[in-house]
């Protein structure tokens, strides 16, 4: 089945609008995976997308000539009872400069669970610059759960820069996120993770960063909001095997009967490894609410503004 990207159905459009705010590939290469199948894709001169032949997924080849180009690879799952496992590999040549917009949205109108496991591997060449954006979102009136379990493996060659920007917007009942990064000399990593859970949702995020090269620099910022009876568990870990710098910052707002556990781990195995971690969990500050109320916002509006900005 091959679709034209201009002829998507209403649900797909609605989900795409949440997970790909650039409106699904106005520019650049693209691949849309829908209910376990790649339904449409397009290459550019510098970006080639090939379907895997041995298992589900795609290989994305980005040449060094790709400069400030984009790839959009959203996933939409709208079938209750489906478990979709996909393996996507990205080969980014030395010196390329690319933005990859991924993300998965599940629309579950049934009583069986819908689950997507996206296993992504990035092989980033020397001095390449990659920005990877991933949004997760769930919707639908069904009682079946919306489950998203992403695995992200990143290998950074010398001087490569990787910006990982992930957001779980709302509606995901359960997620287990696994991220593993290895870094060679002078590679830089910037991770921003934003996560919101509500009702009885659960979220686990493990991030392992191994700084194996001299001059590596990693920054991991995690911001989350837990509402209802939801539970969150964060475990970012930075391992310094060389002269390196790393900073881990985990901030969470806890509300109602939610539970948040944040366990940053720093592991220095070299005398010149400088690694810092900070973690804070707390309720919304009353003074922040009061300040916004003096600007004319109701208590509920103030709370929403604080959360929205915190997760920006």
């Amino acid at each position: 089945m091959e679709w034209n990207k201009e002829e998507l159905d209403a649900i797909t459009r609605q989900v795409l609008a949440q997970i790909d705010t650039d409106n699904f590939g106005k520019e650049g290469a693209y691949n849309l995976r829908y209910n376990g199948t790649s339904v449409c894709h397009g290459d550019t001169e510098h970006i080639k997308i090939k379907r895997k032949t041995d298992r589900q997924g795609i290989d994305v080849y980005i040449s060094k000539e790709a400069q400030r180009e984009q790839v959009h690879i959203p996933v939409v799952l709208a079938v209750p009872g489906m478990t979709d496992v996909v393996y996507n590999d990205f080969y980014i040549e030395e010196g390329a400069d690319i933005t990859i917009v991924a993300g998965c949205g599940i629309h579950n109108a049934g009583c069986d669970n819908a689950r997507h496991d996206g296993i992504h591997a990035f092989h980033v060449g020397k001095n390449a610059n990659v920005r990877y954006e991933e949004k997760h979102y769930g919707e639908g009136e069904g009682t079946g759960e919306k489950i998203l379990n992403p695995v992200t493996e990143i290998e950074l060659e010398e001087g490569a820069v990787f910006t990982l920007d992930t957001a779980q917007i709302r509606g995901v009942d359960s997620t287990v996120r696994k991220t593993k990064v290895t870094m060679k000399d002078n590679a830089r990593l910037y991770v921003t993770e934003r996560l919101m859970t509500h009702d009885a949702q659960t979220a686990v995020s493990d991030i392992d960063v191994e700084m194996n090269g001299a001059g590596t620099n990693a920054q991991i910022i995690s911001r989350s909001v837990a509402k209802g009876t939801s539970r969150q568990n964060f475990h970012p870990r930075a391992i310094g095997n060389a002269a390196c710098h790393a900073h881990i910052q985990c901030d969470s707002i806890i509300m109602e009967q939610a539970q948040v556990a944040s366990i940053p781990e720093i592991d220095a195995r070299h005398v010149d490894a400088a690694i810092i971690h900070e973690a804070a969990i707390g309720r919304i500050n009353d003074e922040q609410i009061m300040k916004l109320r003096t600007l004319g916002l109701s208590e509920e509006e103030a709370e929403n503004v604080i959360i929205e900005n915190f997760l920006q």
Binding site: D251, N285, K291, T294, N309, L311
Partner: protein, 243 residues
Amino acid sequence: MLQVKNLTYKVMENGKEVTLLRDISFDVQDGEMLVITGPNGGGKSTLAKVLMGLVPATGGEIWLDGQNLTQLAPDERAKAGIGYAFQQPPAFKGMTVERLLNLAAGQELPEKTCCSLLGNVGLCAREYLKREVDATLSGGERKRIEIATVLAKKHKLCIFDEPEAGIDLWSFSMLVKQFEQIHQEKDQSLILISHQERIIQMADRILIINDAKVEQCGNREEMMNVLFEGQPACVCMKERSED
């Protein structure tokens, strides 16, 4: 016009009732600048908070242009026309200065207007617009942004709680100019809680609060003599009353 009638605020401390504001009455005319001063711990900031509704009055009434605000929440008082600058403004992780100014104005402001607001409180605007109002800003910077949030919109009455606190001399001079300009335009009333002579000298009237009550209130000329005879105001008052 603001009318404050017999305002009282009491709290329970260790099982005992403590009066933090006792039977306070005064008014502020349209376009008038009232400076509230007095010794530390006398009740000035508490009065400001009660006026804004951040803490509830135990007794008395607050009226603004004929509307009874006494039972209204802070957001309702803001909508009724009161602007309020905190003495120690809170930090907001993730909130940019630009976003906070837009919220304060109740609309999306052009970047030029945001820059102008920040420039007026002594901040080099473009450097700040996209910065977060968080702990990376100094107390003085946050304080000036706080004042800019009140200046972002016209109010019937603006309350500034110790606007000079934590601000360097150069920025303070710019603030004074701002207050002078608002005062000259006469379309907003001002209540400034301050110990600063330059601010006190701008006042139309001066109210001295001490020990939870109004100790004295009068126009600038008569009150300047009281305040700056070389002795603390409360001592001065006591001696006068003994005379």
